[in-house]
Amino acid sequence: MTSIIEVIDLTKRYGAVVTVDRVSFKVEEHKIYGLLGRNGAGKTTIMHMLTAQQFVSSGEIRVFGEQPYENNNVLERICFIKESQKYPEHYTVRDVLDTAADVYRNWDRAYAMSLVGQFQLPLKRQIKKLSRGMLSAVGIIIGLASRAPLTIFDEPYLGLDAVSRQMFYDCLLADFAEHPRTVLLSTHLIDEVSNLLEHVLLIDGGKLLLDEEAETLRGRAYTISGPKAAVEVFASGRKVLDSQTLGGLTQMTIDNGPNGESGQDEATALGLSVAPVSLQQLCVSYMKRNTGSNKGEK
């Protein structure tokens, strides 16, 4: 498997504030990666650094094996769609698509036009007159029709209703199946996209909390609830992500770990109530722990 992206100890500092803290990961080709986390967690900064739109404070970035800064070998193979993209005054939807056609080597005009029809975009309307949802649709269309070997979507669905979002996911999956590429999808709507992802990168407070195959994360964590004593006995020696007590009833979220034995059956046998934990809940638990430990540090 070729590493499309390799990031080593990537750090971004603004004065005394560290927004990306020694993050290291690899992105392999032809997979859909989820870059998950809260707003302000550092995801967008990382993506800006990957595309040389922002400079690295320390650490290394290699995309397609090379440094991205001012490097067309790299940049011509990337399409980065972000919700904060600015467009020139008086540019229409058509103007933007024409520009994209000039810029992206693999641009598929027929595909772009069919997407325009699907999302019902008015080609002749000025960008500044588009609703937020339509503006997002423009970005999505560019991202999809670019067929860029590395396509990065940063929360591309702002203003889109659930139906249109699902349309985006469907289009993405369909095109990905037929024309494989490497996709990085950044979002805080984890449950919506969790089935699309092959690999999860969870970022919180500038740190990388999870770097796993999505399938290994599913079913890896569970909540148990029952009498306080019984729950605590069960939980000892296990990784507890979250714990809550109400009266005599305690609820804990337990993580089996990547290679850990499945504890669910044992818990059921002990008479504890076991419930599944979705990918989103798992991520939320990890983020809560991270915030907790950050507070501890201060």
């Binding site: 739109q53 001012e70 067309n72 103007d95 520009t99």
Partner: protein, 231 residues
């Protein structure tokens, strides 16, 4: 497609703003002056002189600022290299300014040579000193000055994008200080007459030539700014 060319096309896409609007602005100034000249004829031989032509020069400077501020983030967001943006825009600007100065040449010829100042002795495009010398100057002088003003605007845009509002504030303050101190020094040393004399002794074509190194400095500084500008 070569990305530098992609930027050039990006810049030239909005023909209205590039070609129609500046000429509309200039044209309306011209029409107004024409009407005034028509309504209130001057005593024989004096002619009606106006600096209305300056509008297109100011427009190009502002256009330089706006172009940078609006198209740079767009370009960067599309993954276009900063140098491709720089050279692509330089190319498009040169083409536009070349055409514009040809237009000014044509109009000054129509005014001064063909229509005898529009029949109302209006001196709008064909002005003394400004249009002196061979016909080529009537293209060259506007071209050099338009280039200078465009790059001044483009540089200001580039500076703003690089250093932000704080940078602009700092630059303005520095500008005021330098301007004040400089004016004081010049006045104190009584250099104004010599400066005035220097300019008076030069033809417009020569002054236009002198703007080239200044334009070059603007362009070089812009290049420096763009290299380190982030999103």
């Amino acid at each position: 497609m070569n990305r530098t060319l992609a930027v050039t096309r990006l810049q030239l896409r909005k023909k209205l703003q590039l070609f129609i609007v500046p000429w509309l602005v200039l044209g309306s100034s011209f029409i107004i002056n024409l009407l005034i000249a028509f309504i209130s004829p001057q005593p024989d031989g004096e002619g009606f002189y106006t600096g209305g032509i300056a509008s297109i020069f100011i427009y190009m400077m502002i256009y330089g600022i706006i172009t940078y501020v609006q198209t740079f983030p767009f370009s960067l967001g599309l993954g276009i290299r900063r140098s491709d943006f720089y050279w692509g825009t330089a190319l498009s600007a040169t083409a536009v300014l070349f055409m514009s100065s040809l237009g000014l040449l044509l109009l000054s010829v129509i005014e001064g040579i063909w229509t005898n100042h529009w029949g109302v002795d209006l001196h709008f495009f064909d002005l003394p000193y400004w249009s002196d010398g061979p016909l080529l100057n009537r293209w060259w002088v506007p071209f050099a000055l338009l280039l200078n003003l465009f790059w001044l605007g483009f540089m200001i845009g580039g500076y703003f994008k690089r250093f932000g509002k704080t940078g602009m504030l700092a630059a303005t303050l520095v500008g005021i200080v330098v301007g004040t101190v400089g004016t004081y020094v010049i006045t104190y040393n009584n250099w104004w007459p010599s400066i005035g004399e220097w300019f008076a002794n030069r033809t417009m074509a020569e002054i236009a030539l002198w703007t080239l190194p200044v334009t070059f400095v603007f362009a070089a500084l812009t290049r420096l700014f763009v290299r380190r500008t982030t999103v």
